[in-house]
Symmetry: C2
Subunit: 342 residues, 2 copies
DNA sequence: CGTCGCTTCCAAAGCGCTTTGGATTTCTCA
DNA sequence: TGAGAAATCCAAAGCGCTTTGGAAGCGACG
């Protein structure tokens, strides 16, 4: 059942049927109802391809990532992606993923996507400090939005959380509790958020005149494994340098730290304090840690949903101001933090 | 730059240019070269929308999953998905994901996708024992392929691994080593693969007259957590019932078992043997276990790649026989298995 | 009664590609 | 050399939708 068939069946023109279905004002409400009923009855669905060709809009959003950096293995990314797909379905959009591999560079993928008009907009995740993709997309005129921020000069649309504020709050809590040797287990500093977090951390310490000691600052992938490795190293420092508190960039890292602490019979919340940033994944919760974990928390899934909302908003009103949102982050105090021991 | 512009520029008809670019035989190789060069030079890309409309093919494959069962949190699924996207990009296809949520049932998503011709084919992952999606897709005429098998009667295209054979081999190794109390930590038996694995396991034990004791058979989600839980329970059985070997359905489960064994000072490969099925994920490797893990292994990423290949093959030659592939699974013996302790 | 202004509907022109059904040229061989 | 076959190219008809630019119908107002 296509538009022509439906319209002859209704003894109306295609124009009228199309307008009735798409909510245009210049059609009588009575006929609109009649059209809608008939469409429903015969299970009419407009052909996506034809509509795309006619409107130039594809009704799809794109997510591209390099093959080497297979982000599908990263739970943070997949949770974000899940949020995107969720919201996109809600708003009638599809999400397509493409992988740039081998000789086909990521840039090529973008260029091709633009020329062949496969997607209406792109979602960029975990940007680098200076991310070439942004300038590229701007130059070729592909709408996009960033999850996270970057150092590129020109203004760009983004949604980010207040990483600096979050880590400031967390570090302040620790200094307020009397800690002076605080370890920061950060993510890789090629990413902006890691630098933001470090800044917040340093500011809080500086406010109390506490030294951000180099041996207590690490920057690694945010896995459980690196959590254990780094924690082990730090706990083997001479007692006078050994950290009494850990601030981790992810829950898995905190898991690693916890493991090491347990192995050394350090009681978390007493002998050593532990805070982590909690992205609120489905399968790992700060509150089910033992003891429940003090955490800065912000749902990365919700961020995905919101990013899609913003992206589609931009597509619908291209002239509106660029969306630039920074979400505050809550610090939830649980049992893993306590006053510095003895 | 569109086809018309390019063709007037070349002083050829659109027909010829189109045919030259798409490799049709009825065009002179010299002109084909000329056309290709010009297309390259001017960066011509055919409009995906127009091509879709003209051919009726969308150049996209679809993956749908219910929101409740957010498979994006499952590393097995994402590894599989990564393989799909990888191979699809290679073959010039896109992969779009849709999530069925709320009132919009999964069925609706399929129906809509079909009518609006958004995707050429669907990829179904982790099917249930009797999966309604298969009959549905057949009925509405949407091409599809299954990763895994199911009990539906009518023939359907699929790619699966030989789960039964794999677990037969693994269990046989253990019985050959003299084990008589072997634990099976299986996945949920709503899935076909789990039942296949159990069958292989039972056969191997029966062949040696070994009893498949009910207290040593479990069926849970394949997480590290359930691995520890189940292993702990089983190791608390009276000595005469306690397992001397564990056969796990996933590496994370084996991790859980390992943890419990360590806690009890059981040496893996000596006091207790451990085998797991290894889907060859990026972030978890049987060979880097301590000790290196004996495993049945089969790359789930490769399966994703192959599934896409088969799907596209079906689209190109709809009349060919339904692809039905079962991959053999290797058993790789490492240090985690040994003769039963005196 | 004629005209203006709304409301309601329509014919037809694209969107950019593929593909059918020739037309024209070139080649082959008697 | 000429006729048929083969190679090469082309004009035009869709694919199914949106959208432009009117046209027709109808009541109201001077």
């Amino acid at each position: 059942m296509n538009l022509r068939e439906l319209s002859t069946l209704l003894k109306l023109s295609q124009t009228t049927v199309s307008r009735a279905l798409n909510g245009f004002p210049e059609v009588n409400e009575a006929t609109r109802a009649r059209v809608k009923a008939a469409a429903e009855l015969h299970g009419y669905r407009p052909s996506a391809a034809a509509r795309r060709l006619a409107t130039g809009q594809s009704g799809t959003l794109g997510v591209v990532f390099p093959r080497e950096r297979n982000m599908l293995g990263d739970l943070l990314f997949t949770e974000f992606l899940g949020g995107c797909v969720d919201q996109a379905s809600e708003l009638g959009y599809d999400v397509t993923m493409a992988m740039a591999r081998g000789l086909v560079t990521e840039e090529d993928v973008y260029r091709r996507a633009v020329r062949s008009a496969r997607v209406d907009g792109m979602i960029l995740s975990t940007p680098l400090i200076a991310d070439p993709r942004i300038d590229l997309l701007r130059d070729i005129g592909m709408p996009y939005i960033l999850h996270g921020r970057t150092r590129n000069k020109a203004p760009y649309p983004f949604l980010d959380i207040d990483n600096e504020g979050a880590f400031f709050k967390a570090a302040k809590l620790l200094t307020d509790l009397g800690h002076t040797r605080i370890a920061l287990l950060n993510g890789l500093t090629i990413h902006n958020y890691a630098q933001d977090r470090e800044r917040g951390f340093r500011t809080a310490l500086a406010n109390k005149g506490v030294d951000a000691a180099a041996p207590l600052m690490s920057s690694t992938m945010m896995t459980e494994e690196s959590g254990t490795t780094v924690a082990r190293q730090m706990l083997e420092l001479p007692p006078a340098q050994r950290p009494t508190a850990f601030l981790c960039s992810s829950l898995p890292m905190a898991l690693g730290v916890q493991k090491v602490a347990h192995a050394r019979n350090l009681r978390i919340g007493h002998d050593v304090s532990l805070i982590a940033h909690d992205d609120q994944l489905h399968e790992l919760h700060a509150e089910t840690f033992d003891p429940p974990l003090t955490a800065t928390q912000s749902s990365i899934g919700d961020a995905g949903r919101r990013v899609v909302e913003l992206m589609i908003g931009m597509l619908r009103e291209p002239t509106a101001a660029l969306p630039q949102e920074v979400w505050p982050v809550d610090l939830v105090v649980r049992a893993s933090t306590g006053a510095v021991a003895g």
